[in-house]
Amino acid sequence: MATFKKKGGNRTPAISTASLPDIVFMLLFFFMVATTMKEVDLKVRTSLPEATEIKKLEDKANVSYIYVGPPQKKYWAKLGKEPLIQLNDQFAELNDIAPFIEGERELRDPSNVPKMTTALKADSETKMGIITDIKQELRKVNALKLNYTTRQKNE
């Protein structure tokens, strides 16, 4: 009757972690497929507007990106909160756009230049003034294919 349980005699067995790598690999593959490498370090906030009639941007090699939006919080003290343009990794002015597009063209094969598209990633709260100015700059350098990058809206 007076029996002492042997120490550790009836413990639940340790949970097997053998399938943990599989689960993590599954997550890893999901992220590898669903995401893309960061092209630039975003210095402006671009919460994109929503639209329904959108097409996927094919041929990503021939796309140059222009970001427009209010600067991130850490730049507020220096630059204010008004929307700014970002090209590559830095803030830019309107008249930097033409040299930027020319530079992008020089990087590409000449046969691909007509296929080049400019993707405008602008914050939805931006005013049209700056957008119109950018459009005018693009027209001046004859970069006429423009993509207003938007998110998919669920109807």
Binding site: A122, D123, T150
Partner: protein, 190 residues
Amino acid sequence: MARRPLQEINAGSMADIAFLLLIFFLVTTTMDTNKGMMRQLPPIVPPEEIKDTDVRERDVFVVLINRADQLLVEGSRMEISELREKTKEFFDNPTNNPNLSDRKSKEIEFFGTVDVSKGVVSLQNDRGTSYDKYIAVQNELVAAVNELRNDLSKRKFGKPFDDLDEPQQDAVQKYYPLAISEAEPKTYSK
């Protein structure tokens, strides 16, 4: 030589390696949206080459957006929810309303000689219009044309526009061209 039983490789650290990779991908990648509305900008025309085009008033569907994001369509206030239907009606003009777009006959593959709308949408915005509204209006206009194209494809070929092959798509696009003209920017407000 005595054969030792093969020892099992310890896979415990596999999870750590996988986590390391996972975190690397989480940090260096973004859920990038690479979708958007494709638009073609008009080339810049030197002022001396600008000609008066003979577009009649009834063929122009004027959409104005002011700085308070309000819409003025063909001279009257409109909510954005009505814009799509109105645009479709303008291009289609089923009742031959003399205030809506006129037609001209045009030879199109698959369709033969058909009457195609001469309508053009003229979109003008203020510098103070929000980008959000501008995209929403563009979206409605494109949606209107896409719906017309889809209806036509279903009537003619029995399937939606996206499932047609390229010559058929071209024909439908010629039937309903996406004619949105954006005015040269004017400054109303700073």
